[in-house]
Amino acid sequence: MYAQMIKSTGQGVKSLDEMEPEERAFQERINAGGKIEPKDWMPEGYRKNLIRQIGQHAHSEIVGQLPEGNWITRAPTLERKAILLAKVQDEAGHGLYLYCAAETLGVTRDQMTRDLLSGKMKYSSIFNYPTLTWADMGAVGWLVDGAAIMNQVPLQRTSYGPYARAMVRICKEESFHQRQGFDIMMKMANGTPAQHKMAQDALNRFWYPSLMMFGPSDAESVHSAQSMAWKIKMNSNDELRQKFVDLTAPQAEYLGLTIPDDKLKFNEETGHYDFSEPDWDEFFDVLRGNGPCNTERLAARNKAWEDGRWVREGLLAHAEKKRSAKMAAE
């Protein structure tokens, strides 16, 4: 998902009897559907895990602006351009809501940014793929935002209050993103043969990377078990991936496009679609930094940070000067 392969304590989930009274009260509150707020007691593992997860999610929103920003100046009409601008601006907003939520856990925004820029913190693997044609804007909105929604909707009920509230805001805006993507796909798929071909090509390239967004199967993972006990992860990766395929396959059919998977077929017995797993070697390779655009994305973020330095420092100095002048006048 936007947060992939988050490692928790890795020691397995403790039973209530094994916990000290403080932790037990904390876990019982979560079990009862209660929310944890910034000043409440929380286990160190919960705090650290959340910082990694929310931070990675925030970084994904920010880096996710790059593949779409790529097409703002080349959008086919003024209306499409305005819509894409609004969408990319939303992604910046989503990054901000999430950074704020992470900051309530005692990490600074600058620290998280530094960890992204140095490569210490990750962002979703999906944003390391290039957006080669205008149809990719459709595929990204439809598939990538569609996959993100699968994960973000249940996270509105996550146990950490600030994270849950950020998710509520994000989900409200996210459905605009998916619909605008589908709208582009409809236009392209029903357009000229050349446009239809571009739409099919975009689906071909984004299908498996979108499935990878959910991460590899975590049915056996102790990390996921702990995250689920803490309700900072609400569903298993396989569960969400299946849900995504079940919803998306009929949409592709509606568009008259073919999902690039010979095995994709509705299974009457299970009531779900059967489908092929993505290439997990490719996924791990992208996470290690070897995707088509990893270097370019990090370079772009580093450049933005360095180029913006004089603005950050200048505005801070200006604010300081104004404050001093005001104090002198009083």
């Binding site: 000043k39 704020c100 805001r169």
Partner: protein, 97 residues
């Protein structure tokens, strides 16, 4: 929370919705000064007509009760049920009150 000298301070943002309600906390953001905090709040928190008025308060200026005080702060009101109108039985023949 450590704040380096080069980091813009954190502001908490409160927005009044359109229906004559109170300002409500919506989140936070970083800004060099109050003017910028309000401009950023407009971009971050009112992209879809969510509000008609913005308050920005620097986070360090907010005093908050701590969770440990919960008992002593709120328990005293628990045994004062007579503060709720439902405590009093009014006979049906009196009508709406």
């Amino acid at each position: 929370m450590t704040t380096s000298k080069t980091e813009w301070p954190l502001w908490e943002i409160f927005i009044r919705g359109q229906h004559g309600l109170s300002h409500r906390h919506v989140g936070s953001l970083h800004a060099a000064d109050a003017e910028m905090a309000i401009k950023n709040a407009r971009d971050v928190y009112t992209r879809r007509n969510e509000g008609v008025s913005i308050w920005a308060v620097e986070a360090i200026n907010i005093a908050a009760s701590s969770p440990e005080e919960k008992g002593q702060l709120y328990e005293p009101s628990n045994d004062k049920v007579y503060r709720h109108p439902t405590f009093f039985d009014i006979p049906d023949e009196v009508g709406a009150m």
